[in-house]
Amino acid sequence: MLEIRNLHVAVDGAPILKGIDLTVKPGEVHAIMGPNGSGKSTLAYILAGRDGYRVTEGEVRYGGRDLLALAAEERARAGVFLAFQYPVEIPGVANIYLLKVAINAARRHRGEPELDAMDILLRVRSKLKLMDMDESLLYRAVNESFSGGEKKRNEILQMAVLEPKLAILDEADSGLDIDALKAVARGINAQRDPGRAMILVTHYQRLLQLVVPDRVHVLAQGCIARSGGWELAAELERTGYGGITGREGGEEARP
């Protein structure tokens, strides 16, 4: 589904990603861990199509297509979804309205008739329940004055509603209390599907105990320093990043 080959990315002339290789097959869940500033969000943004990055080398193929040639919205319509590490607040746009324009953008793209507000609400209600979210959040402005936990739940809600093929979740678990973490994990697990791939960026083994990944990668200084199975996450929890990056322990991993 996703093939990243020798990807080099620079921001403002400074190299951030320095040769990433990663292959994710349908149905797989990959975890990406790594110290602060190692380039995890940069990788997530590059896949989602954010402006401001320069790919200096390498390529990314998605379902056989050149992913980097597509605009952000085209990627989304082709099934790529990014849950933001820092979800953006949009005053003046109701959460339910965002869901409506997003769903209808995808439907228009597929040549399906657009849904009205009532259809959208019916679709969203069951997912709200899954995420243990109050319906009132739908009528508030997107992420505006949402608590940290509500923002993260809201990202997973959007994923659940949009049903992407490739979901990249950038620290969906940071800043969550225990109940919220469970809700987010429930939302992610409900989306696990043989046809769907996921990349979980996380600092914590906690999430990976609830959403067990197929592969775990450690990103350090712009490269994948190590890859392994679930046990790699457990090892990192004990040893920190020091042993892997060759540095004197990683920075304290805090969101």
Binding site: A48, G49, R50, D51, A71, A72, E73, R75, A76, R77, F81, L82, F84, P87, V88, I90, P91, G92, V93, Y97, L98, V101, A102, A105, A106, H109, A141, V142, Q158, L162
Partner: protein, 441 residues
């Protein structure tokens, strides 16, 4: 052909001596004198020039040059179906065509005892004694345009509320222009006596893509405890000129909510002047201007805090694209007596193109010491992070920009507590947003 400035004044003077005898209410000596005094004042002042600090950003040449006709050629050229496109549901509707009241197109519903709503012509053709105090004088501080309106005013609306009278439904005053090259001088007077309440929607629009000049004056007198809302929806033809003054005097504990939606006209300028003349009076002035192409939309507001414990709030927002221009000039003057004044003013602008330009000038002049006053002004572009967030959800760039632009306008629309007007604005605004190519910055 560059006519010198005084030609315009001579033209209006000539028209005045020709038309004055037939203007309504000329049997009233006080009104005759008031019209003459106003005409003299206009002749003395002439059109404000670029050297006039208050007018230097407003390009008036286009209004000055044409010899607009002051009398429409034939009344009633608008059909009932055409009115339907502008009528708002749930209002007392009064329709004016080319400045003249059209009873056949209007549908005022039954008003409570104590409320009088009549056309100005009708009011002036009666004994009109109670109007003398208001229409009989030419305040010194009015603009030359207000003086011109005073001289030529022919029709409009007179709303009087007896003490305690409250209107449940808004009154919609719909001014439709259908004849090109006309100068229309609508005049609205609201006398709200103690404890009364009413909502007025002043709506200006055109049938067809015609050029004309609307020069309106709206006066509001709010007696103690009265609560008046005045919502102005300006959707004149894109070739028209619109100049208007809204003047309010507020007595003790009165409330005024004013909004100004400026969407149409080639050039529009609204001057709003509020006098908070009684203790505890409060006003809210809100506005939204959406200027496209080469449109020029100005708002100049002035709030005088004259007595203690008055409150004023002001939020104006602007959306500009193409090579549009806008001016927001907001003056708040806190006079020496006005202790414990509470005034806050803000103006936020969204520029959707590199060639659009806005001049924003909040001015606070404070002559009392125990006051709470503030202001804020911003000029910015759409937020890149918000755009990316929407695009990452599959929304194309053009739609994302439109969604965010509407979101910027949302606050102003939401502040109007009239569902029918909100709905109308939600229909009108998207059509004014730039297409993909124009919107790029």
């Amino acid at each position: 052909m560059n006519a010198p400035v005084h030609h315009a004044v001579e033209y209006y003077l000539g028209e005045f001596s020709r038309l004055a005898p037939a203007l309504p209410g000329q049997h009233l000596p006080w009104l005759r004198r008031a019209r003459e005094a106003a005409m003299e004042r206009f002749a003395r002042l002439g059109f404000p020039g670029r050297r006039d600090e208050e007018w230097k950003y407003t390009p008036l040449a286009a209004i000055e040059k044409p010899h607009f006709a002051l009398v429409p050629s034939a009344p009633g050229s608008v059909a009932a179906e055409q009115v339907e496109g502008f009528a708002l549901a749930g209002t007392h509707l009064l329709v004016f065509v080319n400045g003249r009241f059209e009873p056949g197109l209007s549908r005022p519903e039954k008003l409570p005892a104590g409320a009088t709503v009549v056309s100005l012509r009708e009011a002036l053709e009666g004994d009109a004694g109670e109007l003398a105090a208001r229409l009989g004088r030419v305040p010194e501080n009015v603009t030359p345009f207000a003086a011109l309106n005073q001289a030529f005013m022919t029709d409009g609306a007179y709303l009087r509320l007896a003490p305690g009278t409250k209107l449940l439904k808004p009154i919609q005053l719909l001014f439709l222009a259908s004849q090109p090259n006309l100068a229309i001088q609508p005049r609205i007077l609201v006398l709200a006596e103690e404890g009364s309440a009413a909502t007025l929607i002043e709506h200006h629009a055109a049938i067809g893509d015609i050029g004309y000049f609307t020069n309106g004056v709206t006066e509001i007198v709010a007696c103690p405890g009265a609560a008046i809302e005045h919502h102005k929806l300006q959707q004149e033809s894109r070739r028209a000129f619109h100049v208007a003054a809204v003047v309010a005097e507020q007595d003790r504990d009165s409330r005024l909510a004013s909004t100004s939606f400026a969407l149409g006209a080639a050039l529009a300028r609204v001057d709003i002047a509020i006098g908070l003349q009684g203790e505890g009076a409060a006003c809210t002035l809100d506005g939204l201007y959406v200027a496209v192409g080469r449109q020029h939309l100005d708002h100049h507001t002035r709030i005088d805090h004259l007595k203690p414990r008055c409150r004023s709030r002001e939020l104006y927002k602007g959306i500009l694209s193409g090579a549009a221009r806008a001016v927001f000039n907001g003056k708040v003057i806190v006079h020496p007596d006005a202790q414990q004044s509470d005034a806050f003013q803000s103006n936020h602008n969204l520029l959707l193109s590199e060639n659009a330009e806005v001049d924003t000038k909040p001015q606070l002049e404070i002559f009392a010491d125990d006051v709470k006053c503030g202001h804020g002004a911003t000029v910015g572009q759409l937020d890149e992070d918000q755009l990316f967030y929407l695009r990452s959800r599959g929304v194309d760039g053009g739609t994302a920009r439109a969604v965010l632009t509407m979101a910027f306008a949302r606050e102003s629309v939401d502040r109007v507590g009239i569902p029918a007007l909100q709905k109308r604005l939600d229909q009108l605004l998207p059509a004014l947003l730039p297409r993909e190519s124009e919107g790029q910055t």
